[in-house]
């Protein structure tokens, strides 16, 4: 077994463990920490596929930013009632069947050997001088307008988040 395969199976197992923890653990704070395990494992998997910039962005944006917002929201919202009441929705048998069916359908399509030989990112990235440089070439030449739109979207989301969080506050 090569080193690449060893690391893939290690981080895939950690990612799946974290994902199961998000769904199964009782408290949302435990779910958030469990999601952190999945996010870091997925960042490591990005590294294995040669996406260095995205691995760093995954750690900074997801593990650093989004998860911090989640922890703040969990801090604001108290959780005394959920310990007493049942946490599973009554529709859980149907949901498990639907979820497994979805995964099985995806797997049935994926397991056909139709993907062919990998071209590899090596040539494209070497021509540009590295992963980040190659990404910047595509992002800021071909996809400049969507990039600006997404920054506009983030400002709107920020204003909307502040507005929503302060909705109903007595002044």
């Amino acid at each position: 077994m090569t080193v690449h395969a060893l690391f893939f199976y290690l981080f895939a197992a950690l990612a799946l463990l974290g994902a199961v923890g998000v769904v199964a653990l009782r408290q949302p704070i435990q779910g958030a920490v469990s999601l952190l395990l999945t996010l870091l494992s997925v960042a490591a998997l990005f590294l294995l596929r040669g996406a260095e910039f995205l691995a760093a962005a995954q750690i900074v944006i997801y593990a650093g930013g989004i998860l911090a917002i989640f922890l703040f929201a969990i801090m604001f919202v108290a959780y005394r009632e959920e310990e007493k009441r049942r946490r599973w929705h009554p529709q859980w048998p149907a949901a498990v069947v639907l979820g497994l069916g979805l995964a099985a359908t995806l797997l049935a399509f994926l397991l056909r050997p139709a993907l062919g030989v990998p071209a590899g990112l090596g040539a494209a990235q070497a021509a540009a001088g590295g992963n980040t440089e190659a990404l910047a070439e595509v992002l800021f030449r071909t996809y400049l307008v969507p990039f600006e739109v997404i920054s506009l979207f983030l400002i709107v989301a920020m204003v909307g988040g502040i507005l929503m969080a302060s909705w109903g506050v007595k002044r």
Partner: protein
């Protein structure tokens, strides 16, 4: 030999777990955490295909997915905070203001 198929199978499993989480849990914050899980599975797919076909486009779209996930978390958690302040609960089956 680890191929793109390995990554796609892992991504399908993560997406399925996230979908089950959205359907079975009642806590609104856990629902959002499950949605983040599904978005991560999508990103893993994009990266795997980007490597498979030697095209940077997959990584560009993964960046867009990350930005959308950040905006969704900000607005979603703002809404959950407002719901908790006004209704005193974050259980999905306790919030039924839009039922007919």
């Amino acid at each position: 030999m680890i191929t793109a198929t390995h990554y796609l199978v892992l991504s399908a499993c993560l997406f399925g777990i996230g979908a089950v989480g959205v359907m079975v849990r009642k806590n609104l914050i856990t629902l959002l955490l499950s949605i983040e899980l599904m978005l991560n599975a999508v990103n893993l797919n994009l990266i795997a295909f980007s490597h498979q076909w030697g095209d940077m486009l997959g990584q560009v779209f993964a960046i867009f997915v990350m930005a959308v996930a950040a905006g969704e978390a900000a607005i979603g958690l703002g809404i959950i905070t407002a719901i908790y302040r006004n209704r005193g609960t974050v259980e999905a089956d306790q919030v039924r203001g839009m039922e007919g």
